[in-house]
């Protein structure tokens, strides 16, 4: 009995350790799965939308953009956004209630973009900052997105040091020349990163919108320690201009031959290990050594 309890405790400790180590991977896979399913439903529903409806939504977004006044970005993480009114909430409200998806291939980020609202704050999700341009055709647009570095777990998992799914915590790896891709309805906008900078909240208040009136810009903002904000700013380019970089990125790999052979033969090895285990179990039972007999006359 003691032996059983001891083995049980050891296995329990090992399982807990493995769970703690595998938790980040598991959470990331789960989050990627949910995002992929969300985008799958989004794209599927967009396929079914009439072209006129899509054009109408983009036209309404363009009219909203035309009425915007040029203002400094400001710190959306600390300041309540009063420009998220009903009209804004219903603009570019695509299937599943999202505006679209942001992709940053450099750091493997694919996140849905939500409207600014009470339920969608930049501390929890990647949001479009109300009061900045919505993704639509036109020039002189400045779209601003804001999201958390990494979602913080607020329950007991946070106290154990476990973190939530990956969001924008690797934005420092983005360099000028990298691409940011914004998918909105059935449209695709590609931005080339021009500037990466870290600012304080005061600096954000003084920061002027980038670029000139003939260009479209995308700014992605995220939190950093000490109340600072990391800004990645990109200028829109046309997709045909990016053909060379898209072709370079679009590659497949085949592992080295020896790795292929090992991987493809591993089921045989696993089967062999199982067979060996069965044989040893059989041998142990069939050829158990007898315990020494007690002499009755000794008693």
């Amino acid at each position: 009995m003691k032996k059983f309890i001891l083995w049980f405790l050891i296995l329990l400790l090992l399982a807990a350790g493995a769970a703690w180590l595998l938790y980040p991977t598991g959470v990331e896979q789960w989050s990627a799965k949910e995002n992929a399913e969300l985008m799958g439903r989004y794209c599927s529903q967009v396929h079914g939308m009439p072209a006129a409806e899509i054009s109408g939504m983009l036209q309404a977004a363009g009219e909203y953009n035309a009425e915007l006044e040029t203002e400094p970005i400001g710190d959306v993480f600390t300041r309540k956004n009063s420009r998220a009114n009903n009209r804004y909430q219903n603009l570019l409200k695509g299937p599943e209630g999202i505006i679209g998806q942001l992709q940053i291939p450099r750091i493997g980020v694919k996140l849905p973009v939500y409207h600014t609202s009470q339920a969608n704050s930049p501390e929890k999700k990647l949001i479009h900052v109300a009061g900045t341009s919505l993704p639509a055709a036109g020039s002189g647009l400045h779209m601003v997105l804001a999201g958390p570095g990494q979602q913080k777990e607020t329950d007991f998992r946070g106290s154990l040091g476990l973190k939530g799914p990956r969001m924008l915590q690797e934005m420092e790896l983005v360099k000028p020349g990298d691409q940011m891709i914004l998918l909105v309805l059935d449209r695709t906008m590609v931005f080339q990163v021009e500037e990466v900078q870290t600012l304080s909240a005061d600096g954000l208040e003084r920061l002027e919108p980038p670029g000139n009136p003939d260009e479209n810009w995308l700014t992605v903002m995220t939190e950093r320690e000490g109340g600072r904000r990391l800004l990645v700013q990109g200028r829109q380019t046309s997709i045909p201009e990016e053909t060379e970089s898209l072709t370079a990125a679009d590659q497949s790999d085949m592992p080295p031959d020896w790795l292929n052979i090992l991987a493809l033969g591993s089921p045989v090895l696993l089967l062999g290990l199982f067979i060996l285990w069965v044989i040893e179990r059989f041998m142990k039972r069939a050829y158990r050594l007898p315990a020494p007999e007690e002499d009755p006359e000794k008693e």
């Binding site: 493997g108 036109g138 059935d186 590609v190 679009d250 497949s252 790999d253 493809l264 002499d295 006359e297």
Partner: protein, 315 residues
């Protein structure tokens, strides 16, 4: 009477030692044999049937995200079908894209219509695609594939550089490594590769059953593109300069639509700045001779292009 066996314990210890040694030898031999067997089996499977491949880049959208690991079936006996994702060699590397048309199929590209790609007169229903062909900067054209050519496209239609691009062209059968059968990573996608079930099956190695309509399908395409009916055969004489069959990249017949559905080409031909095709937000401008979809609706939906690129091209 007491029987004394002074060496009984020693005998037991010796028996246990022999037994442990035999067990160790058994395990070592067993592991060695199964290791050799697994390497032999892996070598056999790798050379005859399967290989592993990983996907990089955004071209295949959510079907095969960046970093996906797939099991590729080498040259299946049943051939390739429309919708299969093919792994092929290109430019000293490999790429994976979905096959939309096979040998002797006729493909019509109309980027600005509701159904940008038609194969043998059939519209392709592809709910797994992301983005628009109109954003990819491809031009309207028709082509008929040779007996060893395949037309491929990535599921991320706006960002994939593939057979829709004239410079990329079709892929030769000899360059195909195999067909992606099973996704091994990421975890949430483990399973068979999907999407092919949406496309009409193509009998590998023979003409598609849809071509039996012949003239009828050609007439449908002519209505769609708004041009006089031209069969595929005469079209081969139209663009001899563009035939490049020797490179395996050949398009045997190709007809360029004279800017009927390509606003960029139309603007360049007319000398108008490309900004005139925008804004799509304000109105849908139907260019003259715009390609019509099967239901007669005419659409010209310009991509949300960078404004400076458009102005620079128009100057």
């Amino acid at each position: 009477m007491e029987i004394y066996h002074p060496k009984f314990d020693e005998l037991l210890r010796e028996m246990r030692r022999v037994r442990r040694e035999k067990k160790r030898n058994r395990l070592l031999w067993g592991l060695g044999i199964f290791l050799v067997l697994s390497l032999a089996a892996g070598w056999f499977v790798f050379n005859r049937y399967y290989t592993l491949a990983s996907m990089h880049g955004p071209a295949m959208g959510e079907t095969l995200p960046d970093g996906a690991l797939v099991l590729v079936r080498r040259t299946p006996e049943e051939g390739y079908r429309r919708g299969d994702i093919l792994l092929y060699e290109r430019d000293e590397g490999w790429q994976m894209k979905r096959m939309l048309a096979g040998p002797e199929d006729r493909v019509v590209l109309s980027p600005y219509s509701e159904n940008p790609i038609r194969v043998n007169g059939e519209e392709l229903q592809e709910p797994y695609t992301v983005g628009r062909t109109a954003d990819a900067g491809v031009s309207t054209r028709r082509l008929t594939l040779e007996s060893n050519e395949y037309f491929v496209a990535g599921d991320q239609r706006s960002l994939s550089v593939d057979s829709r691009n004239r410079d990329y062209g079709t892929i030769a059968k000899e360059s195909i490594v195999g067909r992606a059968d099973f996704i091994l990573w990421p975890i949430y996608l483990i399973g068979e590769v999907n999407g092919g079930e949406y496309l009409p099956n193509y009998e590998g190695g023979s003409a598609s059953p849809e071509t039996s309509e012949g003239t009828e399908s050609t007439e449908t395409e002519a209505e769609e593109t708004g041009t006089p009916e031209e069969t595929a055969a005469p079209a081969e004489t139209d663009a001899p300069a563009e035939t490049d069959a020797a490179a395996g990249n050949g398009v045997s017949s190709e007809t360029d639509r004279p800017a009927d559905a390509d606003p960029a080409a139309e603007a360049a031909a007319s000398g108008e700045p490309e900004a005139s095709k925008k804004p799509e937000v304000a109105s849908e401008t139907a260019a003259p001779g715009t390609a019509k979809s099967a239901d007669g609706a005419s659409e010209t939906q310009a991509p949300m292009e960078s404004p400076t690129a458009e102005k620079g091209a128009g100057e």
